[in-house]
């Protein structure tokens, strides 16, 4: 059995990617990614670049790598549940909040049970 030793390169998914890279990785059109950025659904690293004229600006729009994961989740929610992008982003935010609450509850319960 061979085993690769893997160094984890990106710790917290802040690595900046261009719109084109995000589109390529997720298999969607560049224009779609730009639309999501303009709608405020995908967050950019360099805030100032995220204006409606993104494509013509000199400074390229950069997205954190976690946008890839977010976009994938949105694609899955769309395919499996028929949720559109805006709805999916709201759902993902809520799920995140719920997760944090669940953790907090688990922590509290652990504290009380002692």
């Amino acid at each position: 059995m061979t085993m690769d030793f893997v160094r984890i390169s990106d710790y917290d998914l802040d690595e900046p990617l261009t719109v084109a890279m995000v589109a390529e990785i997720t298999g969607v059109r560049v224009s779609f990614v730009i639309r999501l950025v303009q709608a405020g659904i995908l967050e950019t690293i360099n805030e100032t670049a995220a204006t409606p004229e993104t494509t013509t600006q000199k400074e390229p729009v950069l997205l954190p790598r976690r946008a890839v994961l977010q976009l994938r989740q949105m694609q899955r929610l769309r395919r499996d549940l028929g949720v559109n992008s805006a709805g999916a982003s709201v759902i993902l935010d809520l799920v995140k909040q719920m997760e944090e609450m669940k953790r907090e509850i688990a922590r509290m319960q652990a504290g009380f049970s002692k």
Binding site: F5, V6, A23, G27, L69, R76, L77, A106, A110
Partner: protein, 349 residues
């Protein structure tokens, strides 16, 4: 394993007469409650969703549904059955064209479900995905890694068994070999599910809820294209002693009344070992003491703190001498635990 043979109609909670629309509706309704993206980390929900998806995949395709109705869980071999029947009926009339149609059927019919197991759920979602623009890039894989707190604190190597969908190397991702023969390795699916062991170096100071990316450790791509990435979602197992708050850990220790009154030096657990801590005289139950730099390793160096919550416990059974001393204490003490605020406090409740 038993779940895999469950009736697909039963899984979706519909009758065998259900219309296509009803199937879709039932699937969507159930998927809402068990979708892995909506229930992160919930293994049971993930299993349910896989079952649902399998049922939906078969029943929502009219052709596959017909096969399923006829052959039930052996529907995948429908073509073999039919081919065998046809061969029996007219042994000499088997023509090359037959081979073609079978290959096509296998390709559109989907995948070999025989070894239907998953590491993360990403490859499940990727099946039949719409990555039209770069179909040959390797699949990304998402998986959850549960860590015990000590490992997250120290960091270190861990071995993972990752199930990733690789481009079939036999046919190079085309699904066919030597002209038009269906690829024997992937059965025309163009991709195969492989399990590969990966030894990953988990950095010290990783946190619950973090996601690590292991570049190039997802599914392999076709020749000349990059492999997909592996995304590891980190989850902490609940620790029996410590609760985590950011970089800090918190634990509770119990002390005797006289330790609280007089102060004491007690041994308290830390994430790495244990240390002796001085409890100041007059410590209160519920009070928190801080042990500086005994928390979790931080990413950029340094450590969080450990907080000790005090809980005063009293002996249930006391001997005669002890009882006498407590009575003596009651007599001479002018400590009033319920003084000025007592009535007000109760009134508020």
């Amino acid at each position: 394993m038993a779940a895999k043979t469950r009736d697909y109609y039963e899984v979706l909670g519909i009758s065998r007469m259900a219309s296509e629309n009803e199937i879709k509706k039932a699937y969507r309704k159930l998927a809402r409650t068990s979708h892995p993206d909506l229930n992160p980390g919930d293994k049971a929900a993930e299993e349910r969703f896989k079952e649902l998806q399998e049922a939906n995949e078969v029943l929502s395709n009219p052709e596959n549904r017909k096969k399923y109705d006829k052959y039930a869980d052996k529907w995948r071999y429908a073509e073999q059955f039919e081919a065998a029947e046809a061969a029996n009926a007219a042994e000499r009339q088997t023509q090359p064209g037959r081979e073609n149609s079978r290959a096509d059927g296998a390709r559109t019919g989907g995948f070999d479900f025989n070894d239907y197991e998953f590491g993360g759920f990403e490859e499940l979602f990727n099946r039949g995905g719409r990555t039209r623009r770069q179909p040959t890039r390797g699949r990304d894989v998402e998986a959850t890694l549960e860590l015990v707190l000590e490992d997250a604190h120290r960091g270190g190597r861990t071995t993972l068994q990752i199930k990733a969908t690789d481009i079939c190397q036999t046919c190079g991702g085309t699904g066919v070999v030597e002209g038009n023969r269906i690829c024997p390795t992937c059965c025309g699916a163009r991709q195969v599910l492989n399990t590969k062991p990966i030894e990953a170096n988990i950095p010290a100071g990783v946190r619950d809820g973090a996601t690590l990316r292991l570049a190039g450790q997802g599914g392999t791509g076709a020749a000349g294209t990059p492999a997909g990435d592996l995304y590891l979602h980190i989850r902490f197992r609940l620790h029996p002693v410590f609760t985590v708050r950011g970089d800090d850990v918190e634990t509770e220790i119990t002390i005797a009344p006289w330790e609280a009154v007089l102060g004491a030096a007690v041994q308290v657990p830390t994430i790495e070992n244990s240390v002796e801590m001085k409890i100041p005289a007059g410590a209160q139950s519920g009070g928190r003491l801080r042990l500086r730099n005994q928390g979790l390793n931080k990413r950029g160096g340094g450590r969080g703190d450990e907080y000790i919550r005090l809980k005063i416990v009293v002996p249930k059974d006391v001997g005669d001498e002890e009882k006498r001393l407590y009575e003596e204490l009651r007599r001479i003490s002018n400590f009033k635990p319920r003084n000025t605020n007592q009535t007000k406090g109760e009134g508020e409740k």
